[in-house]
């Protein structure tokens, strides 16, 4: 059975696209045939992060409008086996997606893929609701700050009231992905802690991704950060993927790195 997972947040710029790219790559690396869909019509970011922007010919909207077949629009990832990308259109607006159109595309994808990852646009309006409507599960991407937590809370409310599963009286499985986590700033109380966010949102924690320069580097290279095995952000995403697949993995990178002996001795920063 194919699983549809939406990556959503309410707030923009929290790391949805970064997470969609990393998690879909991780699932594919674990041998699961995966497709990642860019629902952010008009912005089109996912193909950049995945490094396939020059290979986009047809997009999601073309498929919905039957101007191209799914096979024509799907881009096979160059690096990772089992991974496909369905890019968004840059020239359309969000109204180009219709419930029936999206459903038809998802139904077709379900026959082929084990995981369908939907990268949601920001907001809680139509575009975001379209991305989450057919979801079986949701990864709620949250930054450790009050406004992001509040938006995640709102999107959780929408998920459990306006998604198709909610309308059928079922629930959507929820996962919390805390990103851009900076333990030093948590310690100095500039940011909320993992415990704070967990207490407010009260959903299971899928992972904590540290704030890391490797993310920017990876996106400039058009390479999902999960492929950077040296980087703590890459490792944290790999752990999250394992948890998504049912493994129990301890959370890492929750504490600020201790300064080395010599650094302390020399009073260095």
């Amino acid at each position: 059975m194919a699983k549809i997972i939406v990556v959503t947040s309410g707030k923009g710029g929290v790391g949805k696209t970064t997470s969609s790219a990393a998690i879909s790559t991780g699932l594919a690396l674990s041998g699961h045939k995966t497709v990642v869909i860019d629902f952010d019509v008009g912005l089109r970011n996912l193909d950049l992060i995945m490094g396939c922007e020059r290979r986009v010919v047809y997009d999601f909207v073309n498929v919905i409008n039957k101007e191209a077949s799914l096979t024509q629009a799907l881009i096979k990832d160059k690096r990772t086996k089992n991974l496909f990308i369905l890019p968004a259109s840059q020239t359309r607006d969000k109204d180009a997606l219709t419930i029936d159109g999206v459903q038809a595309v998802l139904d077709e994808l379900k026959k082929e893929f084990e995981f369908i990852i939907c990268d949601s646009p920001a907001g809680i309006e139509q575009g975001a609701q379209m991305a989450l409507y057919f979801a079986d599960e949701a990864i709620v991407v949250t930054n450790p700050e009050v406004s992001s937590v509040r938006d995640s809370d709102r999107i959780l409310g929408i998920l459990q009231s306006k998604s198709m599963r909610a309308e059928q009286g079922k629930s959507v499985k929820e996962h919390l992905l805390l990103t851009r986590y900076n333990p030093t700033r948590v310690e100095s109380a500039e940011m909320l802690s993992v415990a704070d966010v967990e207490e407010i949102l009260a959903i299971p924690l899928l992972g904590v991704i540290p704030e890391s320069e490797s993310v920017l580097k990876a996106s400039n290279q058009g390479q999902p950060v999960i492929l950077d095995e040296e980087a703590n952000a890459g490792q944290a995403y790999a752990d999250a993927v394992k948890r998504l697949l049912g493994e129990t993995v301890e959370h890492r990178f929750l504490e600020a790195e201790k300064k080395g002996f010599f650094q302390r001795l020399l009073g260095g920063k």
Binding site: L156, G157, I158, Q160
Partner: protein
């Protein structure tokens, strides 16, 4: 002939009384706007009795009713200084209940005005107080009530076995029990039941209201902050008390 088209019964209805102390249209409008904005859901669902503590001209009275309706309040009756307003009250489709008594027990007593209700009340045998079996069961919600969501238990208590988020609103005609943290707004007794209470496992509310009286975050913060607490009305004052 047993095919009767209708039956008349006595009933009791709790509603909000809007006491008009002085009427300056502009001031009244802006104050009413503030009040309604403080708890919109609470006010739009409630019927209203206008209590005229001061005498108004017919034009003033018409304006008063129009302003109430503008804010989605539903005036249905008038009491107090209604002298000289009989025709206007009639024309506006309202009832003059100046002669009626307003405590629960006196509702059964025959009123001097020959309203249908009063007649019906006389002819209906005094109804027994509702037994437990007749109570409408509480509405039970077992998921968190999230920001932007609203839950209303009409005619019953509301039981929530999870948290109420900041930006969420829970309302009940009866009591509200929250077995989690109350961070949002809780309005109990929204149709005027002053006996209603709010109970919560951890008090961190934006607003708590009982029968239209409410307190905001800053006041809530002064007592039982993040502690198990109950809020109830004691002689028009909201009391916050810890529950062990």
């Amino acid at each position: 002939m047993t095919d009767t088209c209708f039956r008349m019964k006595g009933t009791t209805l709790t509603s909000i009384v809007l006491e008009v102390i002085g009427f300056e249209p502009d001031k009244f409008e802006s104050q009413l706007a503030d009040k309604v904005a403080s708890a919109p859901q609470f006010f739009t669902r409630s019927s209203l009795i206008l209590h005229l503590a001061t005498g108004l001209s017919a034009t003033e009275f018409e304006l008063l009713v129009a302003l109430c309706r503008k804010f989605n309040l539903q005036p249905m009756a008038v009491r107090g200084e209604t002298e000289g307003l009989k025709n206007t009250i009639n024309d506006l489709g309202l009832a003059d209940v100046s002669q009626s008594k307003f405590t629960e027990s006196t509702l059964k007593s025959p009123s001097s005005s020959e309203t249908e209700e009063a007649v019906a009340a006389q002819k209906t045998p005094v109804s027994k107080p509702p037994s437990a079996a007749q109570l409408k069961p509480a509405k039970v919600v077992s998921r968190p009530v999230r920001s932007g969501q609203q839950v209303y238990a009409e005619g019953s208590d509301l039981v929530i076995t999870a948290a109420v988020s900041e930006g969420a609103e829970v309302l009940a005609d009866g009591n509200i029990h929250i077995y989690g943290t109350l961070r949002g707004r809780a309005l109990a007794g929204v149709k005027g039941n002053a006996q209603a209470r709010v109970f919560c496992q951890s008090l961190d509310a934006e607003l708590v209201s009982i029968a239209g009286q409410f307190i905001m975050h800053d006041k809530v913060k002064a007592a039982c902050w993040k502690q198990p607490a109950q809020i109830y009305l004691e002689e028009d004052t909201l009391r916050i008390e810890p529950i062990a």
